[in-house]
């Protein structure tokens, strides 16, 4: 796609990201995944920043996918992602992060082996609706992805 994409240089980290994203794939294909989020949280499990990818896959698309449009959209998406750093704050060192997928309906564990890779998260939720900062929306048929950052609301009780 003629684009520089950054990736983790630690092999295990890379594997984790890779397997997580690929584990999502079958569910995205089925249209079960509504959102996928990268959540940064502190040692107490309280999230401080969430990068949310809101997905909408139009499944009625057959083989007729306009590559050019899609590619263009994806490229602009990724470019925007790489320059979105200014929207974020520098996080302390001991923070952790995870990849969380929000399903429209919980998949049956027995149905698929892929499901077993996913465990319920114990990350805590915010009590107040978060503040959204949209980064990029692409609405190329048949794939629409929106990326926005969620930060805790200003009225959110501080830990």
């Amino acid at each position: 796609m003629n684009l520089v994409v950054q990736r983790a240089c630690h092999p295990q980290l890379r594997d984790y990201i890779h397997s997580a994203v690929f584990g999502l794939l079958p569910f995205i294909q089925k249209g079960m995944v509504e959102r996928a989020a990268v959540i940064f949280f502190n040692t107490d499990g309280i999230p401080v920043e969430r990068f949310v990818f809101k997905l909408a896959v139009n499944q009625s698309y057959g083989s007729k996918v306009e590559d050019a449009n899609l590619e263009f959209s994806l490229r602009s998406f990724l470019i925007k992602l790489s320059v979105s750093e200014s929207l974020t704050k520098v996080l302390p060192r001991d923070y952790r992060w995870e990849i969380t997928a929000y399903f429209r309906s919980l998949p049956e564990a027995s149905a698929n082996k892929d499901v077993e890779q996913w465990i319920p998260t114990d990350t805590r939720q915010w009590e107040q609706p978060p503040l959204l900062t949209p980064i990029k929306s692409m609405s190329s048929e048949p794939l629409c992805v929106q990326l926005y950052i969620e930060h805790p609301s200003l009225s959110e009780p501080k830990p």
Binding site: M1, L25, I28, Q29, K30, G31, K54, A56, V57, N58, Q59, S60, Y61, G62, S63, K64, V65, E66, D67, A68, L70, E71, L74, P129, P130, L131, L132, T133, P134, I135, K136, S137, S139, E141, P142, L143, C144, Q146, Y148, E150, H151, S153
Partner: protein
Amino acid sequence: MSMESTRSANSAKRSFNNNSNSASSNSNSNPSNKKKKTSQKTLGVAWGSNSRSSSRSSFSNSPFSNFGSYMVEKNRKLQNQFEAEASTSSHGGSGSVKPIFDGVSIFVDGFTVPSSQELRGYMLKHGGRFENYFSRRRVTHIICSNLPDSKIKNLRSFSRGLPVVKPTWILESVTANKLLSWVPYQLDQLANNQPKLSAFFTLKRSSVSNGASTHAPCQVNPEAEDSSLKVGTSGDTYFSEVSEPFEHSKQISGESDDLVDENSNASLVEEPANSSGKPCEVAMAVPSNIDTEDESSVKNYLQSNHYQPSALVSSNCINNQNMKGSPSSTVSEPSNQSHSTLGDPNFVENYFKNSRLHFIGTWRNRYRKRFRTLSDGFNCTSSNIKASALKTAIMHVDMDCFFVSVVIRNHLELRDKPVAVCHSDNRKGTAEISSANYPARDYGIKAGMFVRDAKALCPHLVIFPYNFEAYEEVADQFYSVLHKHGNKVQAVSCDEAFLDVTDSEGDPQLLASKIRREIFETTGCTASAGIAGNMLMARLATRTAKPDGQCYIPPERDSLQKDFGLKTGEMLWNYSRGVDNRLVGLIQESKSVGAEVNWGVRFKDVKDAQNFLSNLCKEVSLRLQGCGVEGRTFTLKIKKRRKDAEEPTKYMGHGDCENLSHSTTVPVATDDVEVLQRITKQLFGSFHLDVKEIRGVGLQVSRLESTENSKQGLERNSLKSWLTSASARTEELCKNNYVAKESSNQGCEGEGDETLGQLCGNSVGLSIQMDSNTSNGAACLNEVSVPPPICHLDMGVLKSLPPELFSELNEIYGGKLVDFVAKNKGKTENMNHTLRAYSHEKIEGAMKEGQAALLPSMVFQNEIPVENKAKQHIAKEVPAVSGAESFVPASGLTKTDLIPSSLSQVDTAVLQQLPEELKVDILEHLPAHRMQVFSPNVLLYPTEIPLEALGTKTAENNSGSKDFVLDNNLWFGTPPHWVEKFKVSNCLILNILAEMYYKSGSTGNLSPILQCISSVSIHQLDAFQDGWDEAMYILCELLKQYIKLKIELDIEEIYVCFRLLRRFAMKSEFFIQMYNIVYPYLQALVGENYGGNLHMSLKD
């Protein structure tokens, strides 16, 4: 023994039967009783196998279940009998000496002298086997004296690849007390009737396969197969066989004798020189054969029987000795041959004549010794030249009349005198001149001329004898110089060499003169050089260069390409050599796409011309899209009337014109209309023409790039694969989706095929096949991302939709779908529903107070695209739709034409999907309508007003369409409805917005528009008082609808818009108010959709 083998024996027998009948009839005359008995048996078998029914009856009482088992039993008994006899009558039964016929098993076919019984006796005595019945597996030789014609013709099925030998072979072998090669004893008939090479191949192959499966003596056939693998394997077996010095090798020898005998003729024809008599060297011949096999060179069939050293008697053996070595290897080493020729002791007789040649011949060895290290690269040089003939530079250096100039190099006074070299200068003058210098040549003196004749031509000709030491010295110096300048030197002769100067730096011509100068300085002799792309040309160049000169032949291709351009030069070069690399069947990629109009072009003013150009661009853009290409170079051609030209005789023709053209190249290929228009305008401007003079305009796009290619990325597959996993529930819709794919669809009509139906697409990827009753299946697609009007929906499809899809659709139509369905259930209710819908709309309309004046015009605008209906249906509409009066005038604008007026109205995507015949049909019809592009009718709507819904409609559909029309979403359409509405508004801010819409590039997104607004002074925006509320209301409405439209999929766009609005709000009272109204609505919707609030940072 298994049944199968018996049967095969049987069938083999059967093939024999006819013959053996005749043969046995002959043998009946044989006085031998025993023989008679055998032949009777043969007869019996023949009879039995020929008439099954009788055989069955005759054997019905026998203990044998069938004929096959009978034969098995009989064969077994005969074998036992034979073995018993053999053990008693074995000649010198001691096992110390191997019997002659060990491993040989004969089958006697027909009448022989001696009789078959006598032969049987010999076999008994000498350890052979005698088969009463032919079996491919047990018999090794067929013995017969005479064969009927049918068997000769069909030798293969008769003999099964086994040798057919005369009985004398047995007798003579017994006499010689050793097994002789059977080849000389081959049946005469067969020898005359030599099989063709091809037949021979198949024969051998089968014999190999047979031999492998049986235990019978292996026949290792030096395979004459062209496959080297086969040769290799056979070679292997051959070695293993050779290592076993027992009778199998005899068999082999027999086989290969045959082989050689057959092949030697063929090879003799090919290589007559090769067959010249050589002393028979058996010992030598064996390794040479092995070599040939190992090399598996092309012609390995030249296999001889040399590995049978004991075959002293065999006369053939000697004949075949010469057939060693493959012809190719002989050819490949001419030097050896010449050397060996010179090595012939006869050369002494012509010592002086040959001595020069001898010098040249032996010189090479000396050269090799001297430049051994250097000549390593020599072989690869020659191959390299062959391999890369592209940009090579070969230099050929040849000393000028070497033999003379070397001799006279120390006689400066003779330099310009005619001199010749000859072995003797005696008075008779019958010696031949071997070389003459150029002054001598001027007199007509040539090499090979008698001295006498030469002197007659040139009385003062000086004749020198050879000076071989000097030659050697000069030759060595010559090569020293050459090797100094190039490491790839191929010596041709003592005075002639090739250099590959491809890699050397600098101009090869300079190098050549340098080499020549050095040669002259060191040797005192001149040399000529030729430089060209290959050795042949270099040599020819030298010929031109001589004497003492050099010649460079540049590659013709280059000079051609210099004169005619790269491609054409190459083509000419190739064609002149009969080279044409074009492939059949590949469609020639079009080099350029364009459109040209040179009839009827008359412009009144610049605006006319610009209009025309933009339409032309549209056309070209669509042609590009139709071809699936994008171009980089744009050429605008103008036909300009000559000053003195009169009005052309052809009406509206272009007459006498000057042809002008300008072109420009852009870095990125495009097929975009706007880019085209911009470029074209620039180009047009660069002509500085009076538009009235223009008689023709053409736009051509070249340097085409395939759109497909540019789209194909690496991730194509991966992306596609998971995006295209279409679920089953949408399957029925998918078949139509290709039509709906594009977000901005244009109307397209496929004419002529009723079954095509009416296709209707919308933005959500739904497309519903219209079960239309129109005779011309007109496909209508909505211009923008608007769901098709309800009226276009087919009831059949709607009803069969899954409930969730239906509800989704229903949502899109704002709940009217249910109404629609219900409406269609009862036709009687039709009117009521329509009326209800109208009343509903009217209430809505009333709500928008202050807009009352706007509404009709807006509706009118909306109507034009939608209501372009065939006139004949207006009558039907009126009764069906109560409120349709206002739309009737709009219908007046319609066209009855079903064909789009230009390609520009054809959706290329659809066009590409159409079947080939249809496409052609459409394209054929289009030119007839092409003129309409330039008709004022179309020019009235420079913006893209969809000419949709041209299809005929039924009354019930029309009633439904009103619902859609009055559901006037501000953001529907291209341009969105609000643009038109705002344009005609009397409110400044709205006017600005509408204006900005066009200015921002008509993308349909709000943020570019707002950005444009931010560039104008915001304070202006507050500078109005009239209709503040009205403007506020409609703008808020606009924003709300926009939010609604985008909230699902493009929160970013909304975010950008609101940040801009927020910025405006800091300066403008109007925007503050608006922002405050819309902001809560926005946050509510965001919260609903995303579970959070948009973070409108206060930084800006």
